[in-house]
């Protein structure tokens, strides 16, 4: 049977653990529900630090997002247009790399510990990777922000994608490398935890959350290899002047080798929450554990050999390999579509447990006043829209209409900007009390916050998609040109600009609301309060017990993933390096 019980209170298959005296703890004279922080105080402390860095970078990144939304729509310009790219680089790096990576490693540290029921094996190891990631963030962040000050001779206005031959200060690349190396060590921490669990449970199925953590990390190891080679072998020596030139197409290809799987590194932790926590919050159980495993195995196999779909419009990449990447990308829809089924079925099950009836009226029986539930549910709905615009991006032909237009940020603000970000915020309303031992404060603000985020994103994203169809580019301080004006398909440019500015403002309000709740909980809530949140996760309706054991064979799936990567990348990468690994070469163009 699946060992999904944090403290093995019961071993009866298919049952939730009975509450016993073990479920309660007495601290300073008050008895309260035993939370994660009581069971694993060290792991809880690590998660608190990770969430702290994550939310801090979210605060700065969100403020910069507001500055951009108002600047590029011409509503309010507080910076020079040349500085827009510094702000944009910081927004991308802080939100897409720092907020995500720290948030994800925090979630995984909690999930792996909780589901295995084993504390992390070495505190020194845990602090090593947290320290490495934090140092990397400080290096990269400070070189980016230095770009705002002309007196400081460092700058990194190269955006989140840092395409050579635009050249950032070497510290930027070193920082990016440290952030990734830190996440690698984090994976080691969790695999060691698994090994310890396995020695005590030789015949058990891998607990579901730990299975998800490990498949995601295997995918991450395979995919970050690309960016690691790009940064360590090429960009760092090049920015230090040790090598004179790099091949811009090769470094760009290595970036996108990592650049698509990274979106699954953002998404899979959200999926983990949708599969394992959302059904409980809806009042029910996960529909199927084996199907969840199939989904994560598919992501491990298919996430990496798809990077060329970001390079459909690139010269130097044979069209045949673009076609291969397109086919793989389309098959990646399968695990997401399966997730859609399981998530909706689990929510419906929960609603019916709560007394919901009818074909659709069960929707009304869901706890729409609980921010943890509403945030995750709304992020799932928005991911549906993001998934459809992603299917359009994946279509090679139509991609030529939208590549590098505002359509693309319109798309990924639905995926990483909502499916991931709103899920992390929402699960924090449920999880932060468990890792701090403090009750949530400002619960009214929290209850409204997911709706505010949803509204802001509807306004901003729909207008970005439509503006992209008209040809308005992304990544620019001023999208209006003297030479021509845009022909729009639906609506007018001025109306889209207003929706983007308004949506960006509403999103910023949503971010502030979330941060206020977290700050108030952290600082104002008395420690060891009478916690109401119950961290137990119920058994799935269909457990892993009778599913094929091969699903848990992580070595096999990793090997398959490697083979697919070699097939998709072997020949094109070989042809790029065959004419000289550094040529056709480009000298640095410092920003």
């Amino acid at each position: 049977m699946a060992t999904e019980h944090p403290d093995n209170v019961t071993d009866a298959p298919g049952e939730t653990p009975e509450e016993t005296d073990e479920s309660y703890v007495e601290i300073d004279g008050t008895e309260r529900r035993r939370a994660f922080v009581d069971r694993y105080p060290n792991a809880a402390q690590a998660v608190r630090v990770l969430f702290g860095v994550s939310f801090l970078s979210f605060a700065v990144g969100a403020l910069f997002g507001l500055v951009q939304a108002l600047h590029r729509t011409g509503v309010l310009r507080v910076i020079a247009s040349a500085d827009y790219y510094t702000i944009l680089t910081a927004h991308g790096v802080l939100l897409a790399l720092v907020f995500t990576t720290f948030g994800i490693t925090g979630l995984f540290h909690w999930a792996n510990t909780r589901s295995l029921g084993v504390a992390p094996t070495s505190q020194r190891l845990t602090w090593l990777w947290i320290g490495t990631m934090t140092l990397g963030t400080l290096f990269a962040g400070s070189t980016i922000v230095a770009g705002l000050f002309p007196d400081i001779p460092a700058s990194a206005d190269v955006l989140f994608t840092f395409y050579a031959p635009l050249e950032a200060h070497p510290l930027f690349y070193v920082g990016a490398a440290l952030l990734i190396v830190g996440s690698w060590i984090a994976g080691v921490d969790w695999f060691l935890q698994y090994r310890e669990w396995r020695s005590a449970n030789p015949d058990s199925r891998i607990p579901l959350q730990s299975f998800m953590v490990m498949t995601t990390m295997l995918m991450w190891y395979l995919s970050t290899l690309g960016v690691a080679v790009e940064v360590v072998v090429f960009l760092i020596p090049w920015s230090l002047g040790l090598i004179g030139q790099v091949d811009p197409l090769l470094t760009r290809t290595l970036f996108w080798y990592f650049g698509h799987p990274v979106v699954y590194f953002w998404l899979l932790p959200a999926y983990m929450i949708w599969y394992t926590v959302l059904p409980k919050l809806a009042g029910g159980r996960l529909f199927s554990d084996p199907l969840a495993r199939v989904v994560f195995v598919l992501f491990l196999i298919l996430s990496t050999p798809v990077g060329f779909h970001h390079q459909y419009t690139d010269p130097g990449v044979p069209a045949g390999f673009k076609f291969v990447a397109m086919t793989n990308t389309m098959f990646l829809l399968l695990p997401s579509l399966l997730t859609l089924f399981t998530v909706v079925a689990s929510i419906e099950h929960g609603a019916r447990q709560r007394g919901g009836e009818g074909y659709l009226s069960w929707l009304r029986s869901l706890p729409w006043d609980r921010p943890a539930f509403t945030g995750i549910a709304l992020s799932g709905i928005m991911f549906g829209a993001g998934g459809f615009s992603g299917m359009i991006n994946a279509g090679m032909n139509i991609n030529y209409l939208v590549h590098n237009t505002l359509w693309v940020p319109g798309h990924f603000h639905l995926t990483v900007g909502t499916a991931f970000a709103l899920t992390l915020m929402a699960v924090s309303y449920w999880l932060v009390p468990q890792i701090t031992g403090k009750r949530l404060k400002l619960r009214g603000v929290a209850a409204l916050q997911p709706y505010v985020w949803f509204l802001g994103m509807v306004l901003m994203s729909n207008a970005m998609h439509r503006a992209g169809l008209a040809g308005v580019p992304r990544r620019t301080a001023e999208p209006e040109y003297q030479q021509f004006s845009y022909d729009t398909v639906v609506g007018g440019i001025a109306e889209m600009q207003m929706q983007i500015a308004l949506g960006g403002t509403v999103l910023f309000v949503g971010a502030v609301m979330f941060l206020a709740v977290m700050l108030a909980t952290w600082t104002l809530s008395p420690p060891n309060a009478n916690l109401r949140v119950n961290g137990e996760l119920p058994e799935p309706l269909s457990t892993a017990t009778d599913s094929p054991k091969v699903l848990d064979n992580l070595k096999l799936w990793f090997a398959v993933a490697v083979v697919l990567v070699v097939l998709a990348y072997g020949i094109p990468l070989y042809s790029m390096v065959a004419d000289g690994i550094l040529s056709p070469g480009s000298v640095p163009f410092p920003v």
């Binding site: 040349a82 790219y85 206005d157 395409y163 031959p165 635009l166 091949d247 811009p248 197409l249 760009r252 529909f287 084996p290 199907l291 459909y312 419009t313 690139d314 010269p315 130097g316 990449v317 044979p318 069209a319 076609f323 086919t327 389309m330 098959f331 829809l333 399968l334 579509l337 399966l338 089924f341 279509g395 090679m396 032909n397 139509i398 030529y400 209409l401 590549h403 590098n404 237009t405 169809l469 008209a470 040809g471 580019p473 992304r474 990544r475 620019t476 001023e478 040109y481 030479q483 021509f484 845009y486 009778d546 094929p548 042809s575 004419d579 056709p584 070469g585 480009s586 163009f589 920003v591």
Partner: protein, 183 residues
């Protein structure tokens, strides 16, 4: 392992959708003939482009519009923060006949997009992007650099004018190149 009937149905429907998507793309390539930018353009030394030594390359010519073997070819160099030709003078091409573009970069990465159309390519130093377009209508299109290329990126744009075939004339020097049988 129990797989619910609805799960099986959904699995089948999802696979069908995926196969249908791939089929539409195959149709787009085989039917209307939507072609990808590929590696046909070959590689080029970005230094030679930056210094204007186009006669030392075998797959690029001095920026401009040419007729080669009866077909219209446009050679464009993108650099911080202009298209040559395109920014200071509009590119003029004829309607209803195939026009082949060759675009490369003199410095960093740029983009080349005729706003609101599917004429869209990355411009990567060291690579020549080659793609063919047939314009059905006369009129003008804005050229946008859609990849961040430095602090003046938002000023990098240009214009392309499509004229009727009777109005289309090549610049005299371009004719001269054709007469001398250049590549």
């Amino acid at each position: 392992m129990h797989v619910h009937r609805f799960e099986k149905l959904w699995f089948g429907a999802a696979l069908l959708l995926i196969v249908a998507f791939i089929a539409t793309i195959v149709y787009g390539a085989a039917g209307p003939g939507v072609a990808m930018v590929s590696d046909d353009g070959g590689t080029i030394d970005a230094d030679k482009v930056a210094n204007g030594n186009f006669n030392q390359t075998d797959n690029f010519r001095s920026p401009g519009v040419y007729r080669e073997n009866g077909q219209v070819h446009v050679y464009i160099v993108a650099r911080q923060f202009l298209f040559n030709p395109g920014t200071s003078q509009a590119i003029e091409v004829p309607a209803n006949e195939q026009v082949t573009f060759h675009v490369t970069s003199a410095d960093v990465m740029h983009g080349f997009n005729l706003a609101g159309t599917n004429v869209n390519s990355m411009v990567i130093p060291g690579q020549v992007a080659t793609f063919s377009v047939t314009f059905d209508e006369t009129g003008s299109h804005g050229i946008v650099c859609h990849e961040y290329c430095g602090s003046g990126h938002h000023t990098m744009a240009g214009k392309l004018t499509v004229v009727s075939q009777s109005q289309f004339e090549l610049a005299p020097d371009a004719d001269a190149v054709e007469a001398s049988g250049g590549s």
